[in-house]
């Protein structure tokens, strides 16, 4: 005979299910056993990420784990969208030991894109390059199709490694003006190759292009073509370590240049064409470089 209780509740109905939450089998008191990770964060500590990339509107995702003072391992995710050039982002874990983080670029990687990440500790909620930083505990390149992070590979400086091979299409100048390419801010290049085409107007004159490297004010290298280009002709030019040409070329005319040559921010790769005419047109500047980031210009 049923007694008491509403229908389908004890003692008339089945007993409630047993809760089966299983706590971690390993537990310790942080006061007694200090976790092996040395990065303990207080409530007002922030992990700051300083990012530098040659990409545009890239997105980075950072997944991380930390150990709370209660002995619980928790996980978190930080999405940093729309990074062009440089950016800062922060995360806090309230209080505990950072166990790991893994970062990846989630927006795909156009050819020649690189992204460098520094992981720092700060107490500034929205830091910038001038904010006080209390530690740098990891830095390295972050990739699109796999993760990098801490702990893991040894930290790298931004100029470490093989560099990123980039093929860059330069800016076509207006008619009658020479090519001038500049190394962007926070970049370090090794110029590997250079090619461009000059189409001369009908104005009669012999043009003699020169490839020059300029620091913004002063040139520090000038390598000229050893063959002339007449009016109303189209001729390719390529930079090369080579002795002067003495006969008409089958393909490009050589512009002498001590390749490979290291270049830093602000330095320019230029042509300087002797006897250039108003109707002459440089076109299709194309060059390859090995590229790294650099913090200081």
């Amino acid at each position: 005979m049923a007694v008491g209780g509403a229908p389908n509740t004890p003692p008339n109905g089945p007993a409630p299910s047993q809760i089966q939450t299983a706590p971690n089998l390993v537990a310790f008191d942080p006061k007694q056993v200090v976790p092996s990770q040395q990065i303990y964060l207080q409530r007002n500590d922030q992990i700051a990420f300083n990012i530098l990339t040659n990409g545009t509107s890239i997105a980075m995702r950072i997944n991380y784990r930390w150990l709370t003072p209660d002995g619980e391992i928790k996980e978190g995710e930080l999405d940093i969208p729309f990074i062009s050039g440089s950016a800062f982002a922060t995360l806090g874990i309230y209080e505990g030991w950072l166990l790991s983080f893994a970062a990846r670029v989630t927006s795909g990687a156009p050819l020649g894109q690189w992204t460098f990440l520094q992981a720092l500790i700060t107490r500034t909620p929205n830091p910038n390059q001038q904010s006080p930083m209390h530690a740098l505990f990891w830095s390295g390149f972050v990739y699109s199709f796999t993760a990098n992070g801490w702990p893991g590979l040894p930290a790298k400086e931004i100029a470490d490694g093989a560099g990123v091979l980039r093929s860059i299409t330069g800016t076509t100048p207006v008619a009658g003006v020479d090519i001038s390419e500049i190394v962007p801010a926070q970049r370090r290049w090794i110029l590997l190759a250079f090619k461009a085409t000059l189409t001369t107007s009908a104005t009669v004159a012999n043009r003699t292009p020169v490839l020059q490297l300029v620091d913004g004010a002063n040139g520090f290298f000038r390598g000229g073509a050893t063959l002339l280009q007449a009016a109303s002709s189209t001729q390719g030019y390529s930079a090369m370590n080579q002795l002067p040409q003495t006969t008409a070329p089958l393909f490009d005319i050589v512009l002498s240049c001590p390749l490979p040559v290291s270049l830093k921010t602000g330095l320019r790769i230029q042509t300087s064409t002797n006897a250039i005419q108003a109707g002459d047109q440089w076109s299709a500047p194309q060059y390859t470089v090995l590229e790294w980031g650099t913090w200081d210009s």
Partner: protein
């Protein structure tokens, strides 16, 4: 041990489908207030322009990856969480609020969080529970709110004193705010004054839910077992202010606040 209800409103313009961080509106902060007592997230709602999600995370929630991530409906700011305090917040913890929307340029997505502090030093709100209301209720009176079109979709606007439309509250009496009606969808309306410690008491601006909004605070108090019915003194009427968080539509809405005079 003064308890307090508080509001955190966060806004984002032109949120991405994958999520964009929302920032607290002027006057609010995503950092939970400092207290030695318990802090509870009572509920949350969002007024958004496109299907997407709203996500509240913090290192102190279950995880800092998704935390509370809820799918949304377009311009439907109904309470998203269960009527039971199942998520505590933690003093000085910084909440990360992310909205995924993709409604486009200029589109504003607003999220309101309703927070309850067991003990907030320096703030003295008058809050009662349902049994107290039942013992002291005398009669019901409504207060009109008709501020016209709001000036902004992403800040508290439409400020109007509680006696702006009609000054009928009997001086010397206390009035319990049990619910409200709103004429059209708006992120939310709030009420603040000396009796709320100048913290905003939030109400979701979901107009189809008139049957629920009529007893919003009554139901909250009933479900949570907490004193969640705010009481205001008629003497303070000129300095009790109704405000709203609109949306990018900037529609002019009207509202009725349902008060019960207490004996």
């Amino acid at each position: 041990m003064p308890p307090a209800i508080d509001t955190i409103t966060a806004t984002v313009t032109a949120a991405a489908a994958g999520g964009t961080a929302a920032a607290a509106v002027a006057g609010d902060s995503l950092i939970v207030r400092s207290t030695s007592g318990r802090v509870r997230l009572l509920n949350a709602w969002i007024d958004t322009d496109a299907l997407g999600f709203v996500q509240v995370t913090s290192p102190k929630l279950h995880d800092n990856t998704r935390g509370l991530r809820l799918r949304t409906q377009v311009h439907q700011p109904f309470p998203l969480l269960p009527f039971e305090a199942m998520q505590d917040l933690y003093p000085v913890d910084t909440l990360a609020l992310t909205v995924g929307s993709a409604a486009g340029a200029g589109k504003i997505d607003n999220t309101m969080l309703m927070v309850y502090y067991d003990d907030l030093s320096g703030v003295q709100q008058t809050l009662i529970d349902v049994p107290t209301l039942q013992k002291r209720k005398l009669e019901t009176v409504t207060v009109e709110y008709a501020p016209g079109a709001p000036a902004s979709g992403s800040t508290y606007s439409g400020l109007a004193a509680i006696n702006a439309q009609s000054d009928l509250l009997k001086r010397g009496s206390s009035y319990a705010l049990v619910g409200y009606q709103v004429s059209g969808n708006v992120t939310g309306i709030t009420l603040r004054g000396a009796d709320s410690g100048n913290l905003r008491i939030p109400m979701p601006g979901w107009s189809p839910a008139g049957f629920a909004s009529a007893s919003w605070f009554y139901d909250l108090s009933n479900y949570f077992g907490l004193p969640l019915i705010p009481v205001f003194q008629a003497n303070n009427s000129p300095a009790i202010f109704i405000e709203q968080i609109s949306n990018d539509l900037l529609a002019a809405i009207t509202a009725s606040l349902i008060f019960v005079r207490l004996g």
